[in-house]
Symmetry: C2
Subunit: 348 residues, 2 copies
């Protein structure tokens, strides 16, 4: 096999992790095209062809890594595959207009199953006012492969990247955190119960909200409109796919800044708290590292403090510091604990 | 498993084939966005944001379906994954400026292997003057997954789709046909020999050209420049990924036209002819259905006949007819045989 090299020259991917691998692979990337406004390292690439800037984001969803078909209904999966990509466009403060969908299928799928998947894709397109304009359908020798590309636009003056956070800016987050991760724990537990005794029906009562947060995802397009209406701009923004800690560290790295966030300010839904306690997990850890919330994390000038306070779904969770101060969580006890990037480390 | 339905309601994907599946899935797709110029059904989607039209194409390459790592070196694979997507932009008469690359990897790959793949990707970017601006890296539980999105632009007045072929237009093709397919046959045979006796070294002498055509691919950007220099426009164009027969039928369907092409006019390299004979295959069949040539197939007004004759790498292979005349190959014997779409039918 051509990918084999002698052990001496072999570096294992799990020793690098996702972010290490991306850093390593992209360090030699040079940009030469006049129309390239922004390349790798943000939620979406930015391209200019004379008018509005074009935003392009792409995400790969692989069976067994990003989803488990034994509990992710195909319709939900199609919906989520589209919305998480729209979320990347939203994270640049842009409007998504088009998506392209590539699907790799094995013959264990029937036409009806594929149509169910497509219904979810088309429902998401309808919900978000987005056109499905292309893609690719092929067979797969292994699991289901979903590859979505989202295309959007933004007035160049309203583009928000990860790199503009300034010392003293407020750190804000929309919605609540950790719910999608805890929904996954509930689903995984019920799958285990079912595998041990197929007579058992899944017990999801009381957990519907967090299960829904896991199985579908919504892109916060409402925030892009709200920023526009209020005529304000975040200084940096990212969508929460990897988890608050990792994603805040992405902003810190890109902005060459530090951050201080407060445990008591983290928005956690009561259902998520209950689930965390049932699984003997710390709700704060789930909020920091859970991932897949697809809420927006942004930094913004303190001048907008009062306005932000009026928004029912925005929490101010901390502030931006100098980079040499690092990125910390301040516990309820007053102690400081450094934030750590977890990200997806599937390479094991 | 959620994708299982009762047999009565189950339609097998292999009964539909790739094109049937795509037709079925995209029949309900509506376009609502002002900026969408062209949606599914061509080589790339077309989006307008006020200036030049933006072209977006995406292709999924899956291990075991589109490539076999036992004979496709990773560097070549990375190169080809980029160039086949640039080829889709070229097929719209556009210029490619950016690519995004999504990679799904399992831990059987080392960092060095992934870097080799990336070298091929970056080499293709350099060769074609294209920026790598984003993507996604994730783990895969099964084989290697490569998902490339190419972004380009075109002056709206120079956009060429599949749908403009007119009765009487010339049908032209660049380069030669069937070489990539026959290169694959050589590689597959040598793999078999190796599996039976690992002492055997692969015998590729004499076949280097067609093996190269299989392992790499070049996008015909030179033609886009030539059309510009000559100030002429094809009426319809497509790149040859599925094979001449399938791809010409795509043009016929989109243009509501028929076609007549001539066996004696099909450009086939002598090495490909030799290989076909060695494999007891008909060179014409390989040229018609081989696929992966990534040459351009286009229709163009007869007014340009003399100019086209001066181009050393364009063959005029036939002409466009009324749609009720169907699409035929005229054999050397004078007999007519209808063209059939083969495409990729991996669903078995």
């Amino acid at each position: 096999m051509s990918e084999k090299t002698s052990d001496k020259n072999r570096t294992e991917l799990q020793d690098l992790g996702e972010f290490g691998l991306i850093d390593r692979l992209t360090q030699g990337v040079e940009l030469t095209q006049k129309s390239t406004v922004l390349g790798v390292g943000d939620d979406a690439a930015v391209v200019s062809n004379g008018g509005l800037s074009t935003l392009i984001a792409k995400d790969l969803l692989l069976e067994g890594v990003h989803f488990d078909l034994s509990y992710a209904p195909l319709q939900h999966l199609g919906y989520k595959a589209v919305t998480v990509n729209i979320s990347d466009i939203v994270a640049m403060n842009g409007h998504c207009h088009q998506v392209l969908v590539g699907i790799g299928l094995s013959n264990r799928f029937s036409l009806e199953a594929v149509e169910t998947l497509y219904e979810g894709i088309q429902f998401a397109c309808k919900q978000y006012g987005v056109d499905l304009v292309g893609g690719d359908t092929t067979s797969s020798q292994s699991g289901l492969v979903l590859s979505v590309t989202a295309v959007g636009s933004v007035d160049p003056e309203r583009l928000v990247t990860r790199s503009g956070a300034q010392t003293g800016d407020l750190i804000c987050v929309t919605g609540n955190l950790g719910a999608a991760y805890l929904g996954l724990q509930v689903l995984a537990r019920e799958k285990q119960v079912f595998l041990e005794n197929s007579e058992m029906q899944p017990q999801l009562e009381g957990f519907e909200y967090i299960v829904k947060r896991q199985l579908t995802a919504e892109a916060r397009v409402d925030l892009v409109h709200w920023f526009e209406q209020q005529n304000i701009l975040p200084t940096a923004m990212i969508d929460l796919s990897d988890g608050l800690a990792s994603d805040l560290l992405h902003i810190c790295k890109a902005s060459k800044a530090g951050a201080r966030i407060y445990q008591e300010k983290l928005p956690i839904d009561p259902v998520a708290t209950d689930a965390a306690l049932e699984f003997k997990m710390d709700p704060t850890t789930c909020a920091l590292n859970g991932g897949e919330d697809y809420e927006l994390l942004f930094t913004i000038s303190q001048d907008h403090y009062q306005l932000l306070e009026t928004h029912p779904d925005i929490s101010i969770i901390g502030h931006v510091t100098e980079s040499d101060q690092g990125a910390d969580l301040v516990l309820r006890s007053g102690e400081f604990t450094p934030l750590k990037a977890q990200g997806w480390n599937h390479f094991h």
